[in-house]
């Protein structure tokens, strides 16, 4: 995971959606975003069928 790219993404999106990240928290947010993205790699690589939909209200 490219931490610099994650940092650039965070800077751009936080500015675009008006969710400022104070400088003292920036590295922590990058670390957490990196962790989430790393966890999600396999999930995002899945080719789900177009018919596999999310449930509006989840009934197990």
């Amino acid at each position: 995971m490219d931490q610099e790219a994650v940092g650039l993404y965070i800077d751009a999106v936080s500015q675009a959606i008006d969710l400022p990240i104070p400088a003292e928290y920036r590295q922590g947010v990058i670390d957490n975003m990196t962790l989430i993205l790393r966890q999600a790699e396999g999930l995002m690589a899945l080719q789900l069928e177009s018919t596999e939909e999310a449930a509006p209200v989840f009934h197990p």
Binding site: Y25, M33, L35, Q39, A54, A55, H59, P60
Partner: protein, 463 residues
């Protein structure tokens, strides 16, 4: 410890109903124990001495008039501080909420317990906004494990679990989004139930992740867990996810010893990284329950990842305004995760939600052949206070992010799960997850009762 503390909730309520002991003396006893032990354990955020004694006296007066009282008559209960309790600020573990107005009415579950006769003696400590597995709260302190005070109680319902383990109350209420009932049940050595998603009303609780939030009870015996659960069931229009199915009471079926459950042991993801003690606990339970074989719940690692993504995103969304206006007011352990979650691309969250259906179908196939699936609740027994990392499969990983690796995939698809505390003499307890098919809590209870009858699962009051 006196005799009242050691009794089960069911037995205690019988004594109160039979007027062999007054509710007032029971509650006074619980409050004395809280005053004595809680300064060192830090389970409670607010001790409700006045209102608890007042309710106990009112109950004794009703009994004196010959009026009927409920099955939890006079039973001291504690409530995680994310449930509304009338007159108390619902802190949800957050400094941010210190200035909030006190709740005007009880949460649905609190109301149900009170109507059954339980008396709320305290609200309890938790990870900030329920985002954590440790109950090491920056503002309200760490809750200590009553079975080893240098160790974590687990979280996020750690205050309730530790209070029940220490005998400060007979029943506790917790919430579980990714394992927040099952993890502290495992670490603190009590029984905990995360019911089927939608089984119990969440109305009047501080939401964290609407897609995954559950509420449930903690107790020191399977019967007490069943009793509390039965009292909490029922539809509630105030919670759109709450089922309209008829309640399916479980207490009466606990003694059905002729039931032959089809039990499997979850392999793969649920064995990877676990310490031997956790695997031994599962294997002991499996042998007792006559488990036939080990089975794979395919893509469990992706289910865990999907739960991780949804949690961060929904948590970030729900706290977005405060993250924007006063990020410095958040606990250091949660703020950066919530901020990252608030910035996640929608694509990730939608993929995680779509995957939920697929994973649900994989579990459904397994439940065609099994009534019960077993797995560790935690990869190890309680960690030390302040412990930052955890060794999983030979790799040092961040403890906070990984304690719930075995609980997350099961709550992701809303399965009912009981965490049953397995203890070897002289060793710390460790929980086994007893998972059943959706809406089949009764099966999980029957399996837990079998383990308890065999003397393998137990939750004595911590000395």
């Amino acid at each position: 410890m006196n005799d009242l503390t050691a009794l089960s909730a069911a037995s205690l309520a019988d004594l109160v109903r039979e007027k062999k002991v007054t509710a007032t003396s029971v509650v006074r006893d619980a409050l004395d124990r809280i005053n004595k032990l809680d300064p060192s354990l830090n389970c409670c955020t607010t001790v409700l001495s006045e209102s608890a004694l007042s309710q106990a006296r009112a109950m004794d007066a009703r009994l004196a008039r010959g009026e009927a009282v409920g099955p939890l008559a006079g039973v001291p209960a504690v409530v995680k501080n994310l449930f509304d309790v009338e007159g108390v600020v619902t802190l949800a573990g957050a400094k941010l909420r210190r200035t909030a107005e006190p709740a005007r009415k009880d949460a649905a579950s609190v109301r149900s317990l009170r109507e059954a006769g339980a008396i709320i003696v305290a609200t309890t400590n938790m990870d900030e906004f329920a985002y954590g597995f440790t109950t090491e709260n920056e503002f309200f302190g760490a809750t200590r494990n009553p079975r080893d005070r240098e160790r974590l109680a687990g979280g996020s319902s750690g205050g309730s679990a530790a209070a029940v383990a220490a005998g400060l109350a007979h029943v506790g209420l917790g919430s579980d989004t990714n394992g927040s009932i099952r993890v502290p049940a495992s670490f603190s050595g009590v029984f905990g139930l995360k019911p089927t998603f939608g089984r119990l009303s969440r109305a009047g609780t501080a939401p964290f992740v609407a897609s995954l939030d559950h509420v449930g009870p903690l107790a020191r015996s399977v019967e007490d867990l069943a009793l509390a659960y039965d009292m909490m069931q029922g539809p509630d229009a105030d919670d759109p996810t709450c089922t309209t199915r008829m309640p399916e009471f479980v207490r009466a079926s606990l003694g059905e010893s002729r039931i032959r459950l089809r039990v499997g042991v979850l392999g793969g993801w649920f064995r990877w990284g676990a310490e031997q003690a956790a695997l031994d606990a599962v294997d002991t339970a499996a042998e007792c329950l006559g488990a036939s074989r080990m089975v794979e719940l395919a893509e469990s690692h992706l289910a865990r990842a999907a739960a991780f993504v949804i949690t961060a995103a929904e948590g970030g969304n729900i706290h977005r305004e405060n993250l924007r206006r006063q990020p410095g007011a958040f606990d250091n352990a949660t703020r950066d995760r919530l901020l990252a979650g608030a910035l996640l691309p929608a694509d990730f969250v939608i993929q995680a939600q779509r995957f939920r259906r697929r994973f649900q179908k994989a579990a459904e196939k397994l439940f065609a052949d099994f009534d019960i699936l077993l797995a560790p609740a935690t990869p190890c027994a309680a960690l030390a206070l302040g412990q930052q990392t955890l060794n999983l499969g030979g790799v040092e990983m961040l403890a906070r992010a990984h304690i719930g690796i075995y609980t997350q995939p099961l709550s992701f698809i809303g399965l009912p799960v009981i965490a049953a505390p397995m203890a070897k003499l002289g060793a710390l307890p460790i929980g086994v997850q007893i998972a059943a098919a959706p809406w089949a809590e009764r099966r999980a209870f029957q399996a837990a009762a079998q383990l308890e009858r065999a003397g393998l699962a137990a939750a004595p009051v911590a000395a």
